[in-house]
Amino acid sequence: MKHLVISGMLMIILSCLICLSQITIITPSKSMKIIDSMSKGVDWLESQTLDRFEIAVNILHFLSPPPASKKAINLLDWILKEAPRRGLMSSTLEYVLRYFDLHESHPELYELMLKGTYLALNDLYENGFHKCHGTLLFYEIYVHYAFLGYARAKRVETLLNLPPLLSTKFEEIMRERIDFMIENEGSWYPKDEYGGYVGRNAWALMMLSKLGFTVKELPELKKTVNFLLEHRDKELGIWGKPEKTR
């Protein structure tokens, strides 16, 4: 009984310490500085009049998942009214569907988006996307579509009867990419003489998390996390210049 009480108390102390360490990560002055800076940034975005559609979509991305605020709903309203006039913007539509949990009620739109990704991927693979084949840019675009297709296939397969070939194809492509990443110590891209491949991995990690894949769903991503943490500052200009060069 006595041991139980002691271990219980130790557990409470430990949780308090963990809470305390979370609280002290950010000082009140720093959090205020961030809020002020964010407010200034939003002011700048809203003051731009060059392309209101792009700004509105970007603000919606920033809000993601959008809160049920009046401003978010107004933005959505405006974007949906404007989207058809602007031509199709599947990524915008996908964000809208996903963020507002509408994909279940409109699975046919998802199916079409998935088909579109499949076509783009095929085109990219077969035609080498003009002269980009073999370059880092080719890899970037290819990986982008592979992620997008995989995420869409995963999402749609629970809603619709996909042609088996389509979902299998995306599974295969993604497996291939994951194997490549593992062989390359966490990098989704080959090392490039121009540099920039570390930053692209930061982008890839962000994109995957946006599509719903983190280390929880894809444990292999731990390798990319480590890759980024290890490569910080080693390559100039990638996630912040080293102190001495600022």
Binding site: I23, I25, P67, L109, G116, E140, W203, S209, L229
Partner: protein
């Protein structure tokens, strides 16, 4: 998607454009990606990145993709306005960071009198209302969007047939 001058993505111009996305954008992307993948906001690298991003803000409120360089003005015509994207990415990185630190963004914005953030984030509808509103708003555009997607169908069938024949 990224653009290539004259379709030639291997040209130096294209390489410079793509690699020039810049440390501000990549730093923000890294912060978002790492925080979502269970890296602690207390990690020294995250903290330094946040400080870097705070210092990188321009006096008018925007962020530019590169910390201490001017972005070529004609780049805008390629595919996007890089300042928008850089600004949005940094804002998202800050939001992600505050969330990871358990800071209530709305409460803090209210305390600081930052009404523009309160208006953006403070919920005024419950879940049920939100679903009704969004479904209603999506309906009128749904059909026209489906129509625009239809052109994909034919090409898709063609590719699928080719795949089946290939296998």
């Amino acid at each position: 998607m990224l653009g290539c001058e004259g379709g030639d993505c291997s040209s130096k111009v294209a390489v410079e454009i793509v690699d020039g996305l810049g440390e501000v954008m990549y730093t923000a992307a890294a912060v978002i990606g790492l925080l979502r993948n269970k890296v602690s906001p207390g990690d020294e690298k995250i903290q330094r990145s946040i400080d870097f991003l705070l210092n990188a803000q321009k006096p008018d409120g925007r962020w530019r993709p590169i910390y201490d360089a001017n972005w070529p003005e004609d780049f805008k015509s390629y595919f996007w306005d890089p300042d928008y994207i850089a600004t949005i990415l940094v804002l998202r990185a800050f939001k992600e960071y505050l969330k990871a630190c358990n800071v209530d963004l709305i409460e803090l914005a209210k305390k600081r009198g930052r009404e523009n953030l309160v208006e953006l984030f403070e919920p005024v509808y419950d879940e049920e209302q939100l679903l009704l509103i969004t479904q209603e708003k999506l309906l009128p555009v749904k059909n026209s969007l489906i129509e625009e997607y239809r052109f994909l169908e034919k090409s898709f069938e063609k590719y699928l047939k080719k795949e089946v024949e290939g296998s």
